[in-house]
């Protein structure tokens, strides 16, 4: 337990991390992102823009020069991340050591596994478009090149989740169908059923859904209704309802702002 003394950093132009949709205003925030988002920073994170930020905004010229040397010398990219963490003194040497091991362990993973974990991470930070690209690439590989059925099933499952989040219900349905084929897991069927609630055209006479007993379907319906009720009480929905209740001429600007935010949110997902 302690109090860390902050460096005096008068950042005028913060550094924008597009994947997280946040601006960084300090060396501590930069270290936090590097440490907590390894998949985000392991590939090409240290670029010209970041070096400019470190040199001009954080006023850490020596670190920027060192990073530049490492970058042009084609050194291990992880070394650049370690150099940033070490120079900022936000994490202890012990924690930096653990981080180094974590990066090394990730690098050692078989390529497909690494890629899948990366896609899972991107899905976790709502980067569905980027995650979808990786899952698709993995799914496209022949069944032999994937380690086993379980792994393939997880990939199809991830792909289905990405399509569903991007409102591409038909593609999501197909992906879950393939996930079920690999895993034989009821969870995939349940998701397919939920998709049919959104898009009834997906209902098929044949396929895994057809063998689900009516009793189970009723139970799933209950779960879905409960989730819908909960969602209806969310702050965003309540705000939207309030907006609809008002005269359009009064809230035109607010509505435009909301739509523009949704568009921006959706674009950042793909």
């Amino acid at each position: 337990m302690s109090l860390l003394l902050c460096r005096q950093e008068s950042v005028k132009c913060p550094y924008y991390v597009e994947a997280l949709d946040i601006h960084l205003y300090s060396s501590q925030e930069l270290c936090y992102v590097i440490y907590n988002h390894p998949f985000l920073v392991m590939e090409g994170f240290v670029d010209e823009g970041l070096l400019d930020f470190i040199r001009n905004e954080l006023n850490m010229g020596a670190l920027a020069s060192r990073l530049e040397k490492l970058r042009t010398g084609g050194e291990e990219p992880d070394e650049m991340l370690i150099a940033i963490l070490s120079e900022c003194f936000y994490y202890s040497p012990g924690e930096i050591g653990q981080y180094r091991l974590r990066l090394a362990a990730l690098r050692k993973k078989p390529e497909a596994e690494y890629e899948k974990e990366r896609a899972d991470y991107l899905f976790g930070i709502r980067q569905y478009g980027k995650a979808l690209e990786i899952y698709s690439r993995l799914a496209e590989r022949s069944a032999d090149s994937l380690r086993d059925n379980d792994f393939a099933g997880q990939v199809w499952n991830g792909l289905g989740a990405c399509y569903a989040r991007l409102f591409q219900t038909a593609k999501a349905f197909q992906a879950y169908e393939k996930a079920y084929a690999c895993l034989g897991d009821e969870a995939a069927v349940k998701k397919m059923y939920f998709l049919t609630r959104l898009d009834p055209a997906l209902l098929q006479k044949e396929g895994p859904l057809s063998s689900v007993p009516e009793e189970k379907k009723r139970k799933w319906d209950g779960e879905a209704e409960e989730a819908e009720e909960k969602a209806a009480q969310s702050r965003e929905i309540l705000k939207l309802e309030q907006l609809f209740g008002r005269d359009l001429s009064e809230c035109r600007e607010e509505a435009a702002e909301m739509i523009s935010r949704w568009k921006q949110e959706y674009r950042s997902m793909i």
Binding site: L3, L5, I22
Partner: protein, 407 residues
């Protein structure tokens, strides 16, 4: 020195002005007078002259007026105390300027009997509106002025303890100073006691009254000076302008002690400080612990580059009015801030813990704290700790903890 260092002893009834290395000094009543039907303002003899001829309206006790945030209505116009004090100071500062040339004013130091926040605020605001740069205007206590006066004398004067009796219309006070050597930095500690036995100086005008005053001072002297070794004792104030009434007190003081009389001691002490500000390197390389100064060092243990260090927020000897500092810290697994308060006697060191009540729960090292420290008076530290969040990752909230800590 090309520039003039002005020292001023500003009291409720009188004001003394003295300049460093200049013999001439001024004593004038702390009053301001407006000449009727004009916008002309006068101080000193001219003010009294106008009142005697019935052509002026006078306001006295300007410091008391400021302290109670009072006003004075003259010819139907209401004047605030701060405005009247400013007019007074403008005219008083013209005295040395007229004598030595206006372009020469360098630093101005004002000594006050008590450094009250309200009065300090008004004085600094007056200085601002008189276009006196902040760094060239200083306000100290009588006690601190006594320190500068004594420490400007030969070493033998302050070899052991130094006492000072101040007898004026306003009060009878005793100041005592001692120098502590052998530490990293020399420390001068001075204390002041306002004595309850003060009396009106008018009683000195008759024999019985003078005898009683002598007895009062003797009793104070015996109580305060006994069993202590003094290298010097000083007398100042209007009451000691003459000493024929205090025969027994004089005998008591002069027994095996060097006694000095200095009518303008506080104004001269202030002038020594003003002169020191003109130097590149101070002639007073000591920490001064006295009225108007912080009596303990306040620090916070922080981690910097993996090493634990004490971050000093205020040092013993800093002017409480000017001692304020801010620092940004990141809480790593702790929901409180500990302040170490270390007086000169390190055995009395203590820790004051301020819990971060109402702050949001976040992962370790994702709460930036803006810690600010200031003083309400020399004994009361005001602490504010504000949640600054952690950038856009964990946005700041309006959580803030404020606490007053007795030093």
């Amino acid at each position: 020195m090309d520039e003039l260092a002005i020292g001023m002893d500003l009291c409720d009834t009188y004001t003394k002005i003295s300049c460093f290395e200049e013999e001439k000094s001024w004593t004038i009543p702390t009053v301001i007078c407006k000449k009727k039907n004009t916008d002309e303002w006068y101080v000193g003899k001219e003010a009294y002259g106008l009142v005697l001829t019935g052509t002026g309206i006078m306001v006295d006790k300007l410091l008391s007026l400021v302290m109670k945030d009072g006003t004075a209505t003259i010819e139907g116009v209401k004047y605030g105390a701060a405005e009247l004090l400013k007019k007074f100071l403008e005219r008083v500062l013209e005295l040395p300027e007229k004598e030595f040339g206006p372009a020469r004013t360098g630093h101005i130091a004002i000594a006050l009997p008590k450094t009250e926040k309200r009065l300090l605020d008004v004085l600094f605001s007056c200085a601002g509106s008189m276009n006196i740069p902040r760094e060239r205007f200083h306000v100290i206590s009588h006690t601190e002025s006594f320190v500068y006066y004594v420490m400007s004398q030969k070493k033998e004067v302050w070899a052991t303890q130094v006492g000072l009796f101040d007898l004026s219309d306003e009060r009878l006070a005793y100041h005592e100073l001692k120098v502590q050597r052998g530490m990293k930095r020399m420390i001068v500690q001075a204390e002041t006691q306002e004595l309850e036995e003060s009396f009106n100086l008018d009683i000195l005008e008759n024999t019985a009254g003078a005898r009683m005053a002598d007895r009062i001072l003797c009793s104070c002297g015996e109580r305060l000076l006994q069993k202590k070794l003094y290298s010097a004792v000083f007398l100042t104030g209007k009451g000691f302008d003459r000493l024929d009434w205090a025969e027994n007190f004089r005998k008591l003081l002069c027994s095996k002690r060097r006694v000095y009389g200095e009518a303008d001691l506080f104004a001269r002490g202030a002038a020594y400080l003003a002169a020191d500000c003109l130097r590149e390197k101070t002639a007073y390389p000591f920490a001064c612990i006295c009225e108007g100064r912080v009596k303990a060092t306040v620090s916070v243990a922080v981690k910097q580059r993996e090493r634990e260090v004490q971050m000093i927020m205020a040092s013993a000897g800093d002017s409480w009015y000017e001692a304020r500092s801010s620092v940004e810290l990141i809480a790593d697994g702790q929901d409180y801030v500990d302040f170490s308060i270390t007086p000169l006697d390190v055995k009395k060191k203590r820790t004051v813990r301020i819990p971060l009540e109402g702050f949001p729960h976040r992962p370790d090292r994702t709460t930036r704290l803006a810690v600010s420290v200031g003083f309400l008076d020399e004994n009361t530290m005001a602490v504010a700790i504000q949640d600054k969040g952690f950038g856009e990752l964990f946005p700041a909230t309006d959580a803030v903890v404020r606490q007053e800590v007795m030093i």
